[in-house]
């Protein structure tokens, strides 16, 4: 068990290094960091200014400092005169000390930005997954119980429909029906208390959760049908257990593997937030913040988001691996 945890932590570190390294490199190669910090004065040729050949373009920087002073300070602060790997090293050093940096754009600490956005995305994820699992399990059990009968066939069509419909379409349809037409929910994200936050998450949760429910349902139904062929199911029936008892007490648990695996993968995906859903329902979550930061080349925010999402991914999948051992004692023996 100790070795298991150590291996997991090592995996987390490796994943974080790989993901942030890639993101750090990509952002610095694709955008000009100096430009992103100081703006248009980045194009001032300071060597020429120093030689007296040209004037500072504006000379109007706050505090009366020259453009080149500002540029030099920015270079120093962000280590821009150093090579890329060294800058990555500085960034890593800050991270280890718990400093995620500050936004280039509004000088807000990244930690604060994420602290504000992340809970909303996590809440959305939780609501969506509760809806997805809550629907998928009884649905799959009912379909597998009478496989290849009308209900099962109708379910197949229904799930394919739900998976095929893009989330922006489903979101807009739900928005139109429940907000515009029937006015059951408000169009604004209401952040006053937990209850109103939950209420605001119903429609976005459905938008994310329904397609996930369809995927879970297909996976679980297939696994249930496989388990139903097992001899121990026949044995349970021979012991006179009712169909419902056999399904819930004998068949369901050994059939959860695929569902749990995909659940873990999609949970991590949902932590990163869903831009489309957050956009439609105007939720100020992490997904929106990240996309905006990418567009504005706000490196520290993007990298901070990458760290959070990657950590979430590894941690959730660690939890999933622990779940396997709860589901099936045979996994424990191999662990």
């Amino acid at each position: 068990m100790v070795g298991f945890v150590v291996r997991r932590v090592a995996a987390l570190v490796a994943v974080l290094l790989a993901v942030t390294g890639l993101a750090f490199g990509a952002m610095n190669v694709l955008g000009d960091p100096l430009f992103n910090v100081v703006g248009f004065i980045a194009s001032v040729d300071c060597d020429a200014v120093a030689a007296g050949e040209v004037d500072d373009i504006s000379g109007q920087t706050a505090g009366g400092r020259g453009d080149c002073e500002v540029i030099a300070e920015a270079r120093r602060e962000h280590h821009l005169d150093r090579a890329l790997p060294i800058r990555y090293g500085y960034w890593l050093g800050d991270i280890v000390r718990g400093d995620l940096g500050t936004s280039f754009k509004n000088e807000m600490p990244v930690r604060e930005v994420i602290g504000e956005k992340l809970p909303k995305s996590v809440l959305l994820m939780v609501v969506a997954q509760v809806i997805a699992v809550g629907l998928a399990v009884p649905w799959a059990v009912a379909a597998a119980y009478r496989a290849h009968r009308p209900f099962d066939r109708a379910s197949t069509v229904g799930t394919f429909g739900l998976v095929a419909i893009p989330s922006f379409a489903l979101g807009v349809i739900l928005f139109y029906l429940f907000v515009v037409r029937w006015q059951i929910f408000s169009s604004r994200y209401d952040d006053t208390d937990l209850w109103s936050r939950l209420r605001s998450m119903v429609l976005p949760g459905l938008t994310l959760g329904l397609p996930a429910a369809a995927v879970y349902m297909r996976l679980l139904r297939t696994d249930l049908l496989t388990t139903l062929q097992e001899d121990f199911v026949l044995m349970a029936r021979a012991k006179g257990m009712s169909d419902q008892w056999v399904m819930f007490r004998h068949v369901l648990r050994p059939s959860l593997f695929s569902l749990v695996t995909v659940f873990g993968l999609s949970t991590a995906g949902m932590i990163g937030g869903s831009l489309v859903v957050e956009q439609i329902f105007s939720i100020p979550g992490l997904g929106r913040a990240l996309v905006e930061a990418v567009i504005r080349d706000d490196f520290p925010i993007v990298l901070g988001g990458v760290v959070v999402v990657a950590t979430g991914f590894v941690v959730v999948n660690f939890a999933v691996d622990l779940l396997y051992t709860l589901i099936d004692p045979r996994v424990r023996a191999d662990g």
């Binding site: 001899d231 026949l234 044995m235 349970a236 029936r237 021979a238 006179g240 004998h250 099936d328 004692p329």
Partner: protein, 345 residues
């Protein structure tokens, strides 16, 4: 649980037929099988794979899939089993009538503790509390000869060997004190050394509980000395049935003899070749027009292909001789092979 009708057999099967609807049309897996089983006796059902013996057992256990069509009547202790099944009677199967399956490696739920699986029956059918059911499960494990039963209660099936698992399965089947236990090839999947232990255990338990048993096997040697009656099945039909000593003493049907010749005998000279049965069993789709064994039979005559021979009493005397019939010995062969079991070939 002693509600046995004063007279008459515990189990009576009359003209049982099972037809599976498949994509290639109906397949008749069991055809016109009848037998009686008196309380306390053991019936051996012998046949190759595909002979319909397991389907017969599943029909008794109400375990056939919904696309199987069952005909005929099955009465158990005076009760009509098919009516009980239709009424979804909950406390009959698993209580009065239980079954042990062929492969103990797969017939236990891999994610439930052994104690839980044995106690399940007691809790659901007899309403025992968890504590009482666990105590009874412990007794059962002890009775079926599992070492360290207290420790086993908390173990999972994968932690036990095949022989121990089959003992657990037997404990499970016995939990609610059944009047009839169906054992479907209970030792086929086990080591030869373990097979005898399991069969002896079943024998002991049957005697000690005055239970009836149906022992299904492909091995005539297994039923010899263990079953009171033997029924030989082939192609979904009964070929021959008799009390065990009668069957082994005066077997009438060529198939029964062919089956016996496939088994090594301890008293045969060394290096005696076993005689395999040529060909393969008919698929259930092929049966119905002639004697099902005709295609592989050394004694076949033209009449064998002309209709399915009925199961008729076998005359006590020598072949073809006039005389009394043995009411318990039936055979579905129209050819007189010779009552000493050595036909003219």
């Amino acid at each position: 649980m002693s509600t046995a009708s004063a007279a008459g057999p515990l189990l009576s099967v009359q003209d049982l037929g099972v037809t599976f609807g498949t994509a290639d049309g109906p397949v008749r897996a069991v055809d016109g099988v009848s037998f009686d089983l008196t309380e306390g006796r053991t019936l051996g059902i012998v046949g190759e794979s595909g002979s319909g013996k397991s389907v017969t057992a599943k029909a008794l256990m109400n375990l056939l899939p919904s696309y199987a069509e069952v005909e005929g009547s099955i009465t158990f202790g005076g009760r009509d089993l098919r009516a009980l099944a239709a009424a979804r009677e909950r406390h009959f199967w698993g209580v009065e009538l239980t079954m042990v399956f062929q492969d103990p490696m797969t017939s236990l739920n891999p994610v439930k503790r052994i104690g839980e699986q044995i106690a399940e029956c007691l809790r659901v059918h007899l309403g025992r509390s968890r504590k009482v059911a666990t105590a009874e499960a412990l007794d059962l494990l002890e009775r079926v000869g599992i070492p360290e039963p207290r420790k086993r209660l908390r173990q999972y099936p994968h932690e036990l060997s095949g022989g121990l698992r089959q003992r657990v399965v037997i404990a499970m089947a016995l939990a609610c004190g059944p009047r009839l236990l169906i054992a479907d090839e209970p030792t086929t999947a086990l080591d030869v050394t373990v097979q005898k232990h399991i069969l002896d255990l079943l024998d002991d338990l049957r005697r000690e509980r005055a239970m009836s048993m149906i022992l299904i096997t492909h091995d005539l040697g297994v039923v010899k000395g263990r079953a009171d009656d033997v029924m030989v099945m082939y192609g979904g039909r009964t070929m021959e049935s008799a009390e065990t000593p009668t069957l082994f003493g005066r077997m009438h049907h060529p198939y029964t003899r062919a089956l016996l010749e496939t088994i090594p005998r301890i008293d045969a000279p060394a290096h005696t070749r076993l005689v395999p049965i040529p060909g393969r069993p008919p698929s259930p789709a092929e049966v119905g027009r002639s004697c099902p064994f005709a295609a592989r039979c050394r004694h076949r005559i033209d009449d064998c292909l002309d209709g399915v021979p009925p199961l008729v009493p076998v005359p006590v005397g020598a072949a073809g001789a006039e005389g009394a019939e043995d009411a318990s010995h039936h055979s579905a062969c129209i050819v007189s092979v010779g009552s000493d079991g050595r036909g003219d070939s």
